[in-house]
Symmetry: C2
Subunit: 220 residues, 2 copies
């Protein structure tokens, strides 16, 4: 009985407006047309609300996002996105063809394992005054690798002409690059894809400037 | 014609005996019983053979592994493993149940995005004398999160009683922890699972001590 009630409940996203990994999950929910509730976790306030014992029980990594869905709690955004894709109707977030799926996962992981972890809040807090230079270095290194891959795989979007998890990863990473004041002109394919994706409603409604916890001065 | 020849050819793994991401792919091939060729890329010799223009064409991130398979070249180990799983017969590397699949991916990504990138060669080369302390910090942080998750999900292996991609990620990460001289006694569930997995032939034949490029003094 408890399980079936949980399955009927709306998913709850514990996230932060500006977290790129939270944004990925918001895009996936929006593309699938899934309604969900947001419970903001402020990564800065009170020394970081992700560090409380209460939040640690949801995600022992003490990072956002954590998602309560169908009676289980998941962390790691790509695991969440693929769970949403496999259990909800609506447009596929991974293509049916195994080779295209592999390319989507390769691009997603290049960002999610090869770039984002090296410039996330927890790591750059350890870098002190060097944090801008450190972040720029790792984003540049990743984008220099991503650009020739996307030249091969991209159509209208990252892999062919259908939106996929790769696009869901790309846009928040470009947003981070821009926060770190990087010149996107060096990566014309990434820039083109990002601009095309930002035209799409699911990427707009999920944008950091339009969330319940967006501060007024950053609100669009 | 060229495509069908490529499809008949054995996959080629460009890897390094001690790279944990290369080991993940070797375990997947072994579990599936897929024959493959190895072309070693020595990450230390000649300043790092992954930095050559020739290798960069295979993997623009200039990291191992890169895998030539079925006429395409893939990088990012979890993308490779899931491609192998989806295209080869043999035991599943991800469970059929969507919730269990999500847990497998969550654990895999906790390691592949949350731990490994912060202690890989390229990053610790930037840390100089602090590299041991830096690596221990991030592995400890990840294992402290992983331990309570595995207490919930594990049976005989990481998620229930079937070997999965989560196990494929766990064992090489424990190997790295031991290289960084960490005390595994702090993580009893991780330790138990690692020991159980190392009993399995696929984890043994793929071990860093038994590869074509293993130096004689490290050979088992």
């Amino acid at each position: 009985m408890r399980l079936s009630l949980a399955c009927l409940a709306k998913p709850i996203l514990h996230g932060y407006f500006r977290s790129s990994c939270s944004w990925r999950v918001r895009i996936a929910f929006a593309l699938k047309g899934v309604e969900y509730d947001q419970l903001p976790v402020n990564l800065i306030k009170d020394g970081g609300q992700q560090l409380t014992e209460e939040y640690k029980a949801l995600n022992p990594m003490q990072q956002v996002p954590a998602v309560e869905i169908d009676g289980i709690t998941l962390s790691q955004s790509l695991a969440v996105i693929q769970y949403i894709d496999e259990t909800r109707p609506g447009p596929r977030l991974l293509p049916a063809d195994p080779k295209a799926r592999a390319q989507v996962r390769m691009i997603s992981d290049l960002i999610a394992s090869g770039i984002q972890p090296l410039q996330n809040l927890y790591v750059i807090q350890k870098m002190g005054a060097e944090k801008m230079q450190w972040s720029q270095h790792f984003i540049d290194r990743g984008f220099q690798a991503l650009e020739p891959i996307l030249e091969q795989t991209a159509g209208k979007y990252c892999v062919g002409d259908e939106i996929s998890m790769a696009d869901i990863c790309l846009v928040p990473q470009v947003y981070n690059a821009e926060r770190f004041k990087m010149d996107m002109g060096k990566y014309p394919t990434i820039k083109r894809l990002n601009e095309a994706l930002l035209e799409i409603e699911a990427f707009q409604v999920s944008h950091p400037s339009r969330q319940p916890d967006t501060p007024d001065d950053l609100r669009a």
